[in-house]
Symmetry: C2
Subunit: 140 residues, 2 copies
Protein backbone atom coordinates (compact mmCIF):
# COMPACT_ATOMS: atom_id res chain seq x y z
CA UNK A 1 0.00 0.00 0.00
CA UNK A 2 1.27 3.46 -0.83
CA UNK A 3 2.45 5.85 1.82
CA UNK A 4 -0.42 8.24 1.14
CA UNK A 5 -3.11 5.58 1.32
CA UNK A 6 -1.66 4.07 4.45
CA UNK A 7 -1.46 7.48 6.08
CA UNK A 8 -5.04 8.28 5.22
CA UNK A 9 -6.09 5.03 6.82
CA UNK A 10 -4.22 5.91 9.98
CA UNK A 11 -5.75 9.38 10.08
CA UNK A 12 -9.25 7.97 9.79
CA UNK A 13 -8.65 5.22 12.32
CA UNK A 14 -7.55 7.78 14.89
CA UNK A 15 -10.50 10.04 14.26
CA UNK A 16 -8.68 12.74 12.33
CA UNK A 17 -10.36 14.20 9.29
CA UNK A 18 -8.97 13.57 5.84
CA UNK A 19 -8.83 17.02 4.33
CA UNK A 20 -7.51 18.46 1.09
CA UNK A 21 -4.51 20.14 2.81
CA UNK A 22 -3.57 16.92 4.57
CA UNK A 23 -3.73 14.93 1.37
CA UNK A 24 -1.61 17.45 -0.48
CA UNK A 25 1.05 17.54 2.20
CA UNK A 26 1.14 13.75 2.17
CA UNK A 27 1.54 13.71 -1.60
CA UNK A 28 4.31 16.29 -1.48
CA UNK A 29 6.21 14.31 1.13
CA UNK A 30 5.56 11.08 -0.73
CA UNK A 31 7.11 12.46 -3.90
CA UNK A 32 10.29 13.65 -2.19
CA UNK A 33 13.43 11.58 -1.72
CA UNK A 34 15.22 14.23 0.33
CA UNK A 35 13.83 16.05 3.35
CA UNK A 36 11.52 18.94 2.52
CA UNK A 37 10.79 21.98 4.68
CA UNK A 38 7.31 23.38 5.23
CA UNK A 39 8.08 26.16 2.78
CA UNK A 40 9.40 23.64 0.25
CA UNK A 41 6.04 21.95 0.42
CA UNK A 42 4.31 25.29 0.02
CA UNK A 43 6.24 25.84 -3.21
CA UNK A 44 5.59 22.31 -4.47
CA UNK A 45 1.88 22.78 -3.99
CA UNK A 46 1.97 26.15 -5.72
CA UNK A 47 3.65 24.65 -8.76
CA UNK A 48 0.51 22.63 -9.24
CA UNK A 49 -1.56 25.76 -9.30
CA UNK A 50 -2.91 25.17 -5.81
CA UNK A 51 -2.33 26.93 -2.52
CA UNK A 52 -1.83 26.02 1.11
CA UNK A 53 -1.18 28.41 3.94
CA UNK A 54 2.17 27.74 5.55
CA UNK A 55 0.57 27.66 8.98
CA UNK A 56 -1.56 24.77 7.84
CA UNK A 57 1.48 22.94 6.54
CA UNK A 58 3.22 23.34 9.88
CA UNK A 59 0.19 21.99 11.67
CA UNK A 60 -0.23 19.05 9.32
CA UNK A 61 3.42 18.12 9.65
CA UNK A 62 3.18 18.29 13.42
CA UNK A 63 0.27 15.90 13.32
CA UNK A 64 1.95 13.51 10.91
CA UNK A 65 5.05 13.50 13.11
CA UNK A 66 3.02 12.70 16.18
CA UNK A 67 1.53 9.75 14.30
CA UNK A 68 5.00 8.65 13.18
CA UNK A 69 4.03 8.92 9.55
CA UNK A 70 6.78 11.43 8.84
CA UNK A 71 10.07 12.17 10.55
CA UNK A 72 11.77 15.46 11.10
CA UNK A 73 15.38 15.33 9.96
CA UNK A 74 17.08 17.84 12.20
CA UNK A 75 20.35 18.01 10.35
CA UNK A 76 18.44 19.15 7.29
CA UNK A 77 15.59 21.05 8.83
CA UNK A 78 13.15 19.08 6.76
CA UNK A 79 10.65 16.26 6.82
CA UNK A 80 10.57 12.87 5.14
CA UNK A 81 7.98 10.17 4.90
CA UNK A 82 8.60 7.33 7.29
CA UNK A 83 10.21 4.57 5.26
CA UNK A 84 9.53 1.81 7.76
CA UNK A 85 5.89 2.32 8.54
CA UNK A 86 5.33 -1.11 10.03
CA UNK A 87 8.51 -1.30 12.09
CA UNK A 88 8.30 0.33 15.49
CA UNK A 89 11.32 1.31 17.56
CA UNK A 90 14.19 3.62 16.94
CA UNK A 91 14.64 4.75 13.36
CA UNK A 92 18.03 5.86 12.04
CA UNK A 93 18.92 7.88 9.01
CA UNK A 94 21.72 8.08 6.51
CA UNK A 95 21.63 11.48 4.85
CA UNK A 96 23.79 12.39 1.88
CA UNK A 97 25.39 15.76 2.48
CA UNK A 98 25.47 16.44 -1.26
CA UNK A 99 22.03 15.60 -2.55
CA UNK A 100 20.16 15.11 0.70
CA UNK A 101 18.91 11.68 -0.29
CA UNK A 102 17.89 9.66 2.72
CA UNK A 103 17.92 6.01 3.73
CA UNK A 104 16.22 4.75 6.84
CA UNK A 105 16.92 1.71 8.95
CA UNK A 106 16.56 0.28 12.41
CA UNK A 107 18.86 -1.89 14.44
CA UNK A 108 17.67 -3.31 17.70
CA UNK A 109 21.10 -4.23 18.96
CA UNK A 110 22.44 -0.72 18.48
CA UNK A 111 19.40 0.77 20.12
CA UNK A 112 19.73 -1.57 23.08
CA UNK A 113 23.41 -0.81 23.59
CA UNK A 114 22.73 2.90 23.41
CA UNK A 115 20.08 2.61 26.10
CA UNK A 116 22.34 0.52 28.29
CA UNK A 117 25.09 3.10 28.20
CA UNK A 118 22.64 5.87 28.92
CA UNK A 119 21.23 4.08 31.94
CA UNK A 120 24.68 3.35 33.23
CA UNK A 121 25.19 7.09 33.20
CA UNK A 122 22.08 7.65 35.30
CA UNK A 123 19.95 8.74 32.38
CA UNK A 124 16.53 7.42 31.43
CA UNK A 125 16.37 7.48 27.65
CA UNK A 126 13.08 7.64 25.82
CA UNK A 127 14.05 8.38 22.27
CA UNK A 128 17.20 8.17 20.20
CA UNK A 129 17.93 10.53 17.37
CA UNK A 130 20.56 9.25 14.98
CA UNK A 131 21.47 10.84 11.70
CA UNK A 132 24.66 9.93 9.87
CA UNK A 133 25.84 12.31 7.23
CA UNK A 134 28.15 11.33 4.40
CA UNK A 135 27.89 10.48 0.76
CA UNK A 136 25.46 8.21 -1.01
CA UNK A 137 26.64 5.83 -3.72
CA UNK A 138 25.69 8.20 -6.53
CA UNK A 139 27.40 11.27 -5.09
CA UNK A 140 30.57 9.44 -4.24
Amino acid sequence: MSFVKYSIQVLRSKGYKVTRPRKEVLEAVESATAPVSPYDISRMVQQQGKHLDHVTIYRVLDLLCSLNLVHKVLSRGGFVKCGLLDEPGCHRFLVCRECGVLQEFTDEALCYQESQIARRMGFYPEHHLTESSGLCQRCR
Copy 2:
Protein backbone atom coordinates in the same frame (compact mmCIF):
# COMPACT_ATOMS: atom_id res chain seq x y z
CA MET B 1 42.66 23.42 32.52
CA SER B 2 39.38 25.25 32.19
CA PHE B 3 37.36 25.16 29.02
CA VAL B 4 37.88 28.86 28.42
CA LYS B 5 41.64 28.74 28.88
CA TYR B 6 41.98 25.67 26.71
CA SER B 7 39.89 27.25 23.98
CA ILE B 8 41.95 30.42 24.04
CA GLN B 9 45.05 28.32 23.61
CA VAL B 10 43.55 26.58 20.61
CA LEU B 11 42.49 29.89 19.06
CA ARG B 12 46.00 31.30 19.39
CA SER B 13 47.67 28.16 18.13
CA LYS B 14 45.59 28.25 14.97
CA GLY B 15 46.28 31.93 14.37
CA TYR B 16 42.89 33.26 15.42
CA LYS B 17 42.77 36.40 17.48
CA VAL B 18 41.62 36.28 21.06
CA THR B 19 39.08 39.07 21.22
CA ARG B 20 36.67 40.34 23.85
CA PRO B 21 33.61 38.92 22.03
CA ARG B 22 35.21 35.52 21.69
CA LYS B 23 36.13 35.43 25.34
CA GLU B 24 32.65 36.43 26.40
CA VAL B 25 30.98 33.81 24.23
CA LEU B 26 33.34 31.19 25.66
CA GLU B 27 32.51 32.27 29.20
CA ALA B 28 28.79 32.18 28.51
CA VAL B 29 29.01 28.68 27.07
CA GLU B 30 31.30 27.61 29.89
CA SER B 31 28.78 28.67 32.50
CA ALA B 32 25.87 26.81 30.91
CA THR B 33 24.90 23.22 31.64
CA ALA B 34 22.15 23.12 29.03
CA PRO B 35 22.47 24.16 25.40
CA VAL B 36 22.24 27.91 24.80
CA SER B 37 21.17 29.65 21.63
CA PRO B 38 22.98 32.65 20.14
CA TYR B 39 20.26 34.90 21.50
CA ASP B 40 20.50 33.25 24.91
CA ILE B 41 24.14 34.21 24.93
CA SER B 42 23.24 37.72 23.86
CA ARG B 43 20.96 38.02 26.90
CA MET B 44 23.52 36.50 29.26
CA VAL B 45 26.10 39.03 28.16
CA GLN B 46 23.62 41.86 28.54
CA GLN B 47 22.87 40.85 32.11
CA GLN B 48 26.46 41.68 32.89
CA GLY B 49 26.00 45.17 31.53
CA LYS B 50 27.91 44.38 28.35
CA HIS B 51 26.82 44.03 24.76
CA LEU B 52 27.57 41.79 21.80
CA ASP B 53 25.96 41.96 18.40
CA HIS B 54 24.10 38.78 17.60
CA VAL B 55 25.87 38.54 14.25
CA THR B 56 29.16 38.36 16.09
CA ILE B 57 27.83 35.63 18.34
CA TYR B 58 26.75 33.58 15.34
CA ARG B 59 30.17 33.98 13.79
CA VAL B 60 32.03 33.11 16.97
CA LEU B 61 29.91 30.01 17.48
CA ASP B 62 30.55 28.93 13.90
CA LEU B 63 34.26 29.23 14.49
CA LEU B 64 34.17 27.39 17.80
CA CYS B 65 32.16 24.61 16.17
CA SER B 66 34.66 24.28 13.37
CA LEU B 67 37.39 23.91 15.99
CA ASN B 68 35.32 21.33 17.86
CA LEU B 69 35.33 23.44 20.99
CA VAL B 70 31.56 23.61 21.07
CA HIS B 71 28.85 21.37 19.67
CA LYS B 72 25.53 22.31 18.19
CA VAL B 73 22.73 20.31 19.77
CA LEU B 74 20.16 20.10 17.02
CA SER B 75 17.32 18.78 19.10
CA ARG B 76 17.60 21.86 21.27
CA GLY B 77 18.73 24.44 18.77
CA GLY B 78 21.55 25.43 21.06
CA PHE B 79 25.24 25.11 21.70
CA VAL B 80 27.23 23.47 24.47
CA LYS B 81 30.88 23.39 25.34
CA CYS B 82 32.58 20.23 24.25
CA GLY B 83 32.83 18.05 27.33
CA LEU B 84 35.48 15.74 25.95
CA LEU B 85 38.02 18.15 24.57
CA ASP B 86 40.84 15.66 24.39
CA GLU B 87 38.87 12.74 22.96
CA PRO B 88 38.49 12.75 19.20
CA GLY B 89 35.90 10.75 17.33
CA CYS B 90 32.15 10.69 17.43
CA HIS B 91 30.56 12.43 20.39
CA ARG B 92 27.11 11.46 21.64
CA PHE B 93 24.69 13.34 23.84
CA LEU B 94 22.10 12.56 26.44
CA VAL B 95 19.75 15.50 26.74
CA CYS B 96 17.11 15.80 29.44
CA ARG B 97 13.83 16.81 27.87
CA GLU B 98 12.81 18.58 31.07
CA CYS B 99 15.74 20.71 32.11
CA GLY B 100 17.93 20.40 29.02
CA VAL B 101 20.94 19.26 31.01
CA LEU B 102 23.43 17.45 28.83
CA GLN B 103 25.89 14.61 29.25
CA GLU B 104 28.43 13.75 26.61
CA PHE B 105 30.15 10.48 25.86
CA THR B 106 31.86 8.50 23.14
CA ASP B 107 31.80 4.83 22.36
CA GLU B 108 34.09 3.48 19.70
CA ALA B 109 32.28 0.18 19.35
CA LEU B 110 28.94 1.85 18.69
CA CYS B 111 30.49 4.21 16.22
CA TYR B 112 32.16 1.36 14.39
CA GLN B 113 28.99 -0.68 14.17
CA GLU B 114 27.07 2.28 12.88
CA SER B 115 29.62 2.83 10.14
CA GLN B 116 29.59 -0.85 9.21
CA ILE B 117 25.85 -0.85 8.74
CA ALA B 118 25.99 2.34 6.73
CA ARG B 119 28.63 0.94 4.40
CA ARG B 120 26.68 -2.26 3.95
CA MET B 121 23.88 -0.04 2.69
CA GLY B 122 26.14 1.59 0.12
CA PHE B 123 26.63 4.75 2.13
CA TYR B 124 29.93 6.41 3.00
CA PRO B 125 29.47 7.93 6.43
CA GLU B 126 31.60 10.82 7.60
CA HIS B 127 29.92 11.98 10.74
CA HIS B 128 27.40 10.57 13.17
CA LEU B 129 24.93 12.70 15.03
CA THR B 130 23.42 11.03 18.07
CA GLU B 131 21.24 12.73 20.62
CA SER B 132 19.19 10.70 23.07
CA SER B 133 16.39 12.48 24.83
CA GLY B 134 14.89 11.37 28.09
CA LEU B 135 15.11 12.27 31.73
CA CYS B 136 18.14 12.95 33.83
CA GLN B 137 18.42 11.59 37.35
CA ARG B 138 17.22 14.80 38.96
CA CYS B 139 14.14 15.25 36.77
CA ARG B 140 13.06 11.66 37.07
